[in-house]
């Protein structure tokens, strides 16, 4: 998975080894007065899933250990963690998550909430379309609060999300299931 929300870029590559666990690589780049990059080997868990007749809800968490690089040249150990909850039917979607990237020099937190609707109920082999509104907050950044309208498409193993912050910064996210 690759994604960018204007001032934060995200790259994630995971291998699931059960329906509830995955491990992989997670990198985040924060573009500010001083850029920082965090990279870690991360493990994710699906803590709880509710499978309802017409809906699904999930709670996930993950932690990772790695390194952080600052623009000035400082390098040190770092950790990444996240917590996420989501709820989805075929027409309605809601999610919230918190991510933390921390090193002895600097730490960043990202909080975001998303709500979306699907204009039609797509069948399994059709293109799914979602209109999503995201509100996000990144600590210790110049632009700490962003509102992001976006459109999400997925079909088969491919997932694409495109949008723009209200300040005009493009937002893109791409995922593929191997």
């Amino acid at each position: 998975m690759m994604g960018s929300t204007g001032s934060v870029q995200n790259f994630e590559l995971y291998q699931s080894y059960s329906a509830r666990t995955a491990w992989g690589f997670h990198a985040m780049r924060f573009e500010d007065d001083q850029d920082e990059i965090f990279a870690a080997i991360q493990h994710n868990w699906l803590l709880k899933r509710w499978n309802l007749p017409s809906a699904q809800a999930n709670i996930y968490t993950g932690i990772g250990a790695g390194a952080a690089w600052q623009e000035e040249g400082d390098t040190g150990p770092a950790g990444i963690g996240f917590f996420r909850a989501d709820y989805e039917t075929r027409r309605v979607y809601a999610a919230c998550d918190a991510k933390l990237a921390a090193s002895p020099e600097v730490s960043r937190s990202i909080f975001s909430a998303e709500a979306g609707i699907a204009p039609y109920k797509a069948e399994f082999d059709q293109i799914n379309t979602w209109f999503i509104f995201q509100a996000g907050h990144v600590t210790a950044m110049d632009d700490t609060f962003e509102l992001i309208p976006k459109v999400r498409f997925f079909k088969g193993p491919y997932f694409l999300e495109l949008g723009s912050t209200l300040r005009g910064r493009p937002v893109a996210s791409f995922m593929i299931h191997f």
Binding site: S18, A19, R20, L46, R49, W50, N51, L52, P53, S54, A55, Q56, E88, T89, R90, K121, A122, E123, F124, D125, Q126, N128, F154, K155, G156, P157, F159, M175, H177
Partner: protein, 108 residues
């Protein structure tokens, strides 16, 4: 007088016995939590690779996974249930249908 009827019955029975294996069995599993095609990709990928399955169809509207058994092979209800659970969903019931895979996919 009895001989002709006996012969007729034998032919009829032989005809039925021959017809049965030609009709592939469709298996429909009702699944809870299957609301997103991106998330249900694992179910499709697994059953497509299964040697006893010749056809798979995921139906989000009917909340079901439809399988067609390959001739001469079989997949047990237990295996279907276990795999759907392993993929992260809740199977509700497995039904072995009298209609064919195509008929069930398009009609029921």
């Amino acid at each position: 007088m009895k001989l002709p009827s006996t012969i007729t019955i034998l032919f009829l029975t032989a005809g039925l016995a021959q017809a049965a294996p030609d009709r592939a069995v469709a298996i429909r599993t009702t699944v809870n939590g299957m609301v997103c095609s991106f998330c249900a990709q694992g179910i499709l990928a697994y059953f497509k690779k299964h040697p006893a399955v010749s056809n798979v169809h995921v139906d989000l509207t009917r909340k079901s996974v439809l399988l067609e058994e390959r001739k001469g092979h079989s997949i047990s209800d237990k295996e279907i249930i276990e795999y759907i659970k392993k993929a992260g969903f809740d199977p509700v019931k497995v039904e072995r249908l009298k209609t064919s895979f195509q008929e069930t996919k398009t009609g029921s």
